[in-house]
């Protein structure tokens, strides 16, 4: 093996006295892809920031970090500035905030080129334009004087990648570069990174929380947990053998299918929720001062039925109108036209008072386990909130009994009720959110990406809980997700949504195994799947293979 480009040995890191990394060892060879995998809080981002020496104040690192022969922990700030962007570069997780909003994309890409090479403005801009073209933003369609806010999230991430790769650094660090993007964009961005790395002979440190994401792409893998390396080695071997229990746990969780008795049984066929020809338009941006605004159609003539006791998935890329549709179903938003009926009663156009009966039978679980609770109220008050919908006011003791039994049903102890939401972890909060949703004994729960913000092992537990509640309480779900493995795990039927329309629907296994529509095919092709990726690599024997054929590259960029 060639001399490693990055050597980390015995790296210890403490922030404000709290140990974060404990004895990390890792070597990355030139031109290889090295995956660094772990759940949140495992120290993977901190490892990356240590290499760049961009740690927060109060951090203290000890051990060895070498870039080639150079000791990075001993390098002065001036030397680090010379290395950053030129020899080692980084792509960050959040493309929406990673670019300066007041500078054009051309300026931002050219800046590093000018700084490191001393090139003139015109020269640097020409190089920036070539680089943006390589990342799929041809100057003809995306002029250099565009501002970040004029680009979508995926396009912004391409700009961030162009900034990082502009000088063909020997080591590129990508910290969860696709976590904020939907699956189709994720596959595109990962393929792009793979191509750039291969063409310019860069080494790539690919940081992710998802084994499925890295399985198809990594040569080597290091698995972190709580700041310590659990297992490391050849990616294919590690992922196939799954010798280490933690590796096995992560692998199991990433393709988790809960034990679900009702999975096959087609429960009651009677329609519980019926949406007819739903259209929702938003006022669009005006083209000029006096030209009228053309409305944007977020939801375009959507009709569907959720039978009692069934779990219906709604899948699609971000921005396809899923969440708007969910809000309309919940009567939190009014459709421009079309009607929603719940349990035989038309809910569209009703006022808050008349909706009470329907709302009692129809509750909601949101994505963000941090944003879904008022930080200033106790768990008891928060979980009891839907009891407001009961036709008669409840006595204090009865309210507490109801809260207690809801907590028990989601596997939380009764004493949780006297605490505040910030005292709980993300997974626990999602349990609390489910407790709130079931306290009125609803018949339908609308779940808007309820597991997307969770680590894989927590996600598996929450999916188990959803399966059990369907078995025990006969709850119907409208389950919104962009993640097909989630849809496969917990839905009977699935609808695929694209640009406000439902383009395909059917039994979950049928749609996901043999998708017909273009949108569904893309989603299925892009979805990260650990076992499929391993199989494919074993068959091909190739060290790296993009998930989609190269011939599709042009289509993907548009």
């Amino acid at each position: 093996m060639a001399a490693p480009i990055l050597t980390i040995a015995g790296l210890e890191l403490a922030i404000a006295g709290t140990p974060v990394l404990r004895g990390i060892d890792m070597q990355i060879a030139p031109g290889t892809v090295h995956a660094l995998v772990g759940e949140s809080g495992s120290g993977k981002s901190m490892t990356a920031l240590t290499v760049l020496r961009l740690l927060p104040n109060g951090a203290h690192a000890a051990g060895t970090v070498r870039l080639g022969e150079e000791d990075l922990l001993a390098a002065g700030e001036a030397r680090m500035c010379a290395l950053r962007g030129d020899r080692v570069a980084m792509v960050f997780q959040e493309p929406m905030t990673a670019l300066n909003p007041v500078k054009t994309i051309g300026e931002q890409v050219a800046e590093g080129i000018r700084w490191h090479t001393g090139a003139g403005r015109a020269d640097a801009e020409a190089r920036a334009a070539r680089m943006l073209d390589r990342v799929g933003l041809p100057p003809a369609k995306f002029p250099l004087d565009r501002y970040p806010h004029e680009l979508s999230g995926g396009q912004r991430q391409r700009v961030v990648i162009a900034i990082a790769c502009a000088l063909a650094p020997r080591l590129l660090i990508a910290d969860e570069p696709t976590t904020a993007l939907d699956v189709v964009l994720q596959a595109q961005i990962l393929d792009l990174l793979g191509e750039l790395v291969a063409e310019d002979q860069m080494a790539l440190m690919l940081i992710s929380h998802d084994l499925g994401v890295v399985a198809g792409r990594a040569d080597q893998i290091t698995i972190l947990r709580e700041g310590a390396v659990q297992e490391a080695g050849n990616a294919l071997e590690v992922l196939r053998a799954q010798r280490h229990p933690y590796t096995r746990q992560l692998a199991e969780a990433s393709a988790h299918r809960p034990a679900w008795h009702n999975r096959a049984a087609p429960a009651g066929q009677r329609a519980l929720l019926e949406a007819r020809n739903i259209v929702r338009e938003y006022p669009g941006q005006r083209a000029g001062l006096f030209s009228p605004a053309r409305p944007l159609r977020a939801v375009d003539d959507v009709s569907f039925v959720v039978p009692a006791g069934r779990s219906v998935g709604l899948v699609g890329r971000s921005g396809c109108g899923k969440s708007t549709l969910a809000r309309i179903v919940l009567a939190l938003d009014r459709p421009t036209s079309g009607t929603v009926a719940f349990d035989g009663m038309r809910t569209t156009g009703l006022g808050d008072r008349d909706l009470r009966a329907a709302r009692r039978k129809m509750q909601v679980v949101f994505q963000d386990p941090y944003g879904s609770f008022d930080p200033r109220q106790t768990v008891e008050r928060l979980i009891a909130e839907p009891l407001h919908l009961e036709p008669r006011p409840l006595a204090r003791a009865e309210r507490r009994d109801r809260v207690e039994s809801a907590l028990r049903e989601v596997g939380m102890p009764a004493e949780a009720m006297r605490r505040y939401p910030h005292e709980f972890s993300g997974g626990q909060r999602q349990r609390l959110a489910i407790a709130r949703a079931i306290i009125t004994r609803p018949r339908l729960v609308v779940c808007d990406e309820p597991v997307s913000a969770l680590d894989v092992s927590t996600r598996a537990q929450i999916l188990d809980l959803f399966a059990r509640l369907n078995d025990e309480l006969g709850l119907a779900y409208l389950f919104i997700t962009h993640d097909l493995s989630v849809a496969r795990a917990i839905t009977h039927e699935v609808m695929v949504m694209q640009a406000g329309r439902i383009v395909e629907r059917g039994a979950t296994a049928d749609v996901l195994d043999s998708p017909h529509s273009d949108a569904a095919q893309r989603l299925v092709a892009a979805a990260p799947d650990l076992n499929r990726a391993i199989e494919r690599r074993v068959r091909s024997g190739a060290p790296y293979l993009p998930l989609e054929g190269r011939s599709e590259k042009q289509a993907k960029r548009n």
Binding site: R360, V364, G371, F373, D374, T378, E380, E385, P386, R419
Partner: protein, 291 residues
């Protein structure tokens, strides 16, 4: 009932607040100064070293002494007593003006945030119009019509406070409305008014408290300015601003007359500003961490 979970948990919250407040020097200094000024104002209701109204030409313009700690003015009045009595006026004017701002501005701001659309647009444009009249300009207008006096000073400062609080409340409430916990409350059938009272107000109370201390200190400064130019409290009431106006005519022969009221204003405003900064630090991080 000491085992009540709400009280127990609230107690926990209070302990956290105390722990943070202990570590925050700005908060402590501000609290001490503010409490001292408030105590002085309260004390002046029942006791001052000398009678504020007592004129004694033979004692005029005395330097500090055992009898008159900060000396006397050109009418022989005791400056310490006047400072004490003047604090009542400053505090009362500024506090009521803040009350007007909170009492009218916060409901308007919350209403605008809950309703959006036309109501919001009209209220914000109206606040633009009020902002076009700085407190002093509106004071000039009000005095031109109704004549000078403490009540008119209160109205002038209070009117200016309304859009300040309306904007702070609206901005903070607008940021809360799309949050998922508000959606959850709406899905629980709660109306806008109820959600505002149960969820929005408790979550913006910190911001309002901080803004309140800032407007309080600005009110003290504005009141001093107004009474300095004769638009505020009228004789025989004592006020720090008027003391300064009288000191100005004596500045060449008795500069000490100008020092005491100025320092009284500075100490009060400084205390409130430190308290506001401290409160922001003590109250805010908890909200930040949760995002």
């Amino acid at each position: 009932m000491s085992t009540d979970p709400l009280i127990a948990a609230g107690h926990e919250d209070w302990r956290l607040f105390v722990a943070k407040a202990r570590a925050n020097r700005s908060f402590q200094a501000g609290a001490v100064l503010t409490l001292a000024v408030l105590a002085m104002a309260a004390l002046s209701l029942v006791w001052t070293p000398h009678d504020v109204a007592a004129l004694s030409i033979s004692d005029r313009l005395q330097p500090p002494s055992a009898a008159h700690w900060l000396g006397t003015d050109h009418f022989g009045r005791d400056i310490v007593s006047m400072i004490m009595a003047g604090s009542r006026n400053s505090i009362a004017v500024a506090l009521i003006a803040v009350g007007i701002g909170v009492g009218i501005g916060v409901p308007l701001g919350c209403w605008a945030a809950a309703r959006r659309g036309l109501v919001d647009e009209v209220l914000m444009r109206a606040s633009d119009i009020v902002f076009a009249f700085p407190a002093l300009v509106s004071a000039v207008m009000i005095t031109a019509i109704f004549g000078p006096g403490a009540v008119n000073a209160i109205i002038a400062i209070g009117i200016f406070n309304i859009p300040v609080f309306a904007r702070v409340a609206r901005g903070a409430a607008l940021a809360l409305w799309p949050r998922e916990f508000i959606l959850a409350a709406r899905a629980s059938g709660k109306g806008a008014a109820r959600i505002t009272i149960e969820h929005i107000l408790p979550n913006i109370a910190n911001l309002l408290l901080v803004q309140g201390t800032i407007q309080f200190s600005l009110g003290i400064l504005a009141e001093a300015g107004l009474s300095y130019v004769g638009l505020g409290a009228q004789p025989p009431a004592t006020s720090w601003g008027r003391m300064l106006a009288e000191a100005q005519t004596m500045i060449a022969i008795a500069p000490q007359m100008a020092l005491a009221p100025g320092i009284a204003i500075i100490v009060t405003v400084l205390g409130l500003n430190l308290l506001g900064d401290g409160l922001r630090d003590v109250l805010d991080p908890k909200l930040r961490r949760e995002r």
